[in-house]
Symmetry: C2
Subunit: 405 residues, 2 copies
């Protein structure tokens, strides 16, 4: 099959296994212009599945660059809140959302990180209501990776660009199981494994996780009534989307005041063209007190200063080091893939789905922020213990793999 054939299969899989699009449901896609032909496949699949309307909000990276090159400095604090308000209206009307993430890591080369941070902060603030809709699963949504030339160039820098793009597409097709004889069945089996894993962790009723290895020695207390989530989630409309596609993780909600110790990131964080590498963070009483990095420290500091919850954790996720993404042994410079290669935590907003229904998020200890940034800490020399409420410990992972299942 050609890359285009496989993209068409991938698009159809996103609409079914990814979004679980309901008949009669409108679909909003966001995608870079470079993804136009892929979006065409998505629209075809969605219309065939009964969507009355597919609207794509195309993103033009050169317009972002134009802002920094030609715009006034104070203009960076301006964001299109009106567009986000429109999307909220669509959500209220029942629309689903597909985020086609095509990274442009070299887009903002040479721009001061402080200026980039300001733009991101303004965008996060202007789209808080929109972000809460998806974070709280009030609609079914799904985020998927799209291979841009800009992205392929940093993952495979020594290859000619056409070859690098094809190679990275093939990586993506492998990890989303599109090349399986029956991709739908492959996803059903994989999702069953994640579900069993969640049930096992849930049954332990842990008070904390303790990560040790590779420079990390971090105890992450868990929120009261935390729920282990992985694979499919149930949206308010009854749909069962896989919100991050691919997904290999099971994750839950940390307690915002109960994180102690030292985190050493095992992979870089790539954020809108900026890379944060060699990150080391020290936590006390849940707060990231001290932040060091070989690269991108100022950018991260800017983001962590966005609001009160930005310096605390909103997610902790477990991924075996032999996941299909990890097995690629490639650094993808893309959270959507890299977080599926390794254990990780996230700064900022927590997911409501990770707190028992009916419980007050705030009393439970769940964190609130406009930010959500994943940070990979896992690797094949990491052990993870679960701390029971009795204080007793259970081995969850050894040398990067699950020993619980």
């Amino acid at each position: 099959m050609t890359i285009d054939d496989l993209q068409a299969r991938f698009a159809a899989l996103c609409v079914t296994a990814g979004l679980d699009l309901r008949e009669g449901q409108e679909l909003i896609v966001s995608a870079p212009i470079e993804a136009q032909s892929f979006v065409g496949h998505v629209a075809g699949a969605a219309y065939r599945a009964g969507a009355p309307l597919v609207t794509c909000l195309y993103e033009d990276p050169s317009l972002i660059r134009a802002r920094f090159d030609h715009g006034a400095d104070e203009a960076l604090d301006c964001a299109p809140g009106w567009l986000s308000d429109g999307v909220v209206k669509a959500y209220e009307g029942g629309a689903a959302r597909l985020f086609v993430y095509g990274p442009y890591p070299d887009l903002l080369t040479g721009v001061a990180p402080e200026r980039i941070g300001r733009m991101h902060a303004a965008m996060a603030a202007a789209s808080a209501a929109e972000g809460a809709f998806t974070a709280d699963l009030r609609v079914n949504w799904c985020a998927i990776p799209f291979v841009t030339q800009s992205w392929a160039r940093i993952v495979y820098p020594s290859m000619p660009i056409a070859e690098a793009t094809d190679k990275l597409w093939n990586d993506v097709f492998d990890v989303v199981r599109v090349k399986s004889a029956d991709p739908i069945a492959a996803w059903r089996d994989h999702l069953a494994v994640l579900e069993t894993r969640c049930q096992g962790l849930q049954a332990l009723d842990l008070s904390a996780l303790h990560f040790v290895g590779g420079g990390t020695d971090l105890r992450v207390g868990l929120a009261e009534g935390h729920q282990w989530v992985g694979g499919r989630s149930r949206a308010a409309n009854g749909a069962l989307p896989v919100c991050n596609f691919p997904t290999e993780e099971v994750f839950t909600c940390p307690h915002r005041d109960q994180v102690e110790g030292r985190l050493a990131a095992s992979r870089p964080i790539a954020l809108g063209g900026i890379v944060i590498d060699g990150l080391v963070v020290t936590f006390r009483n849940g707060v990231a007190e001290h932040v060091e990095a070989r690269e991108g420290r100022e950018m991260l500091e800017g983001l962590l200063s966005g609001d009160k919850g930005a310096r605390r954790l909103g997610e902790v996720g477990l991924v075996p080091c032999n996941s299909p993404v990890a097995r690629k042994e490639v650094l993808f410079y893309n959270t959507l893939l890299d977080e599926n290669a390794a254990n990780h935590i996230a700064f900022g907003q927590s997911y409501s789905a990770c707190i028992e229904a009916g419980r007050d998020r705030n009393i439970a200890g769940a964190n609130t922020s406009a930010l959500h940034i994943d940070c990979m800490i896992g690797h094949d020399a990491m052990d993870v213990d679960g701390v029971l409420k009795s204080g007793e410990r259970r081995a969850i992972m050894r040398a990067g793999d699950f020993v619980l299942d």
Copy 2:
């Protein structure tokens, strides 16, 4: 200069002479994806003019086609009202709007006109509030032509596509005066001519216009307190945009009940991929009673059945047959250019700017509709008389040119 250089000049002219963008004003652009590099020039010019944010709502023609090919029939009545509501919010916040019109005349080949009409009707209804904002000049806005390959192919069908595209771009550059040594000065002079023409017509205080020639014999009564408008208009924020760029017309508001006689279109109407050709319409008491056409009659009938005002006139415009557009002696299949080659009327919505401030639009006789479709009737064998309130007649145009100035 290359096509790209001239596009950059054109983009800058759109932002200044076209939009009269104010410092600190946000800009919303709508454009086909094919116009990406042109939109980049617009964004650069707007940011340099002090815009805090430029957002482009890119249109993907293949997604429109996908709807007809793969969507359910009843889904055609669905439209993204949420997006239009978002734009209204931006307008309320002071944003200006640039419409980059790139036609795709062959996009919907083979689709039943009734289905296309339904989609247009649903879109018009869902965006009524947005359309009223620009029609009433509550913001400064500007609509400009963009040369798509699809459009170039029907204007110059015998040329190789690259040559056709370049030729059509050069036509556009000529009629928007971008190749002048000083385009800004050229526009200042041209706008002064239009202003003088409006003043002359206004001073006559006409009760009607009478068009005779080329199969047309049409008396168009004018609304009470009608205003002649041409070239620049004053928006509510004080800006002086040229809303249609290029513009060669002076126009005013017909009385919705006082149109009598026969109209024979002198050029085809091109609407979202469908062409209405050989149109002949008979009016009585302002209503288009009988509609004939060699091509596209059903499509037009569908549109004229959209609401009560759709069968009545909302605009009458005068253009000398020696305008730069007319001199090209090319049928552009694009209202934005063709209406600047010929006298024309429009079915549907009238412009508030064409009614004296403070007057009740409805009592004055101005028409209201979600529709606005221009129809060219002028050519070089047409005479136009003005009918004074005394019943006396004045020659306005003879053999297609003004005799009033």
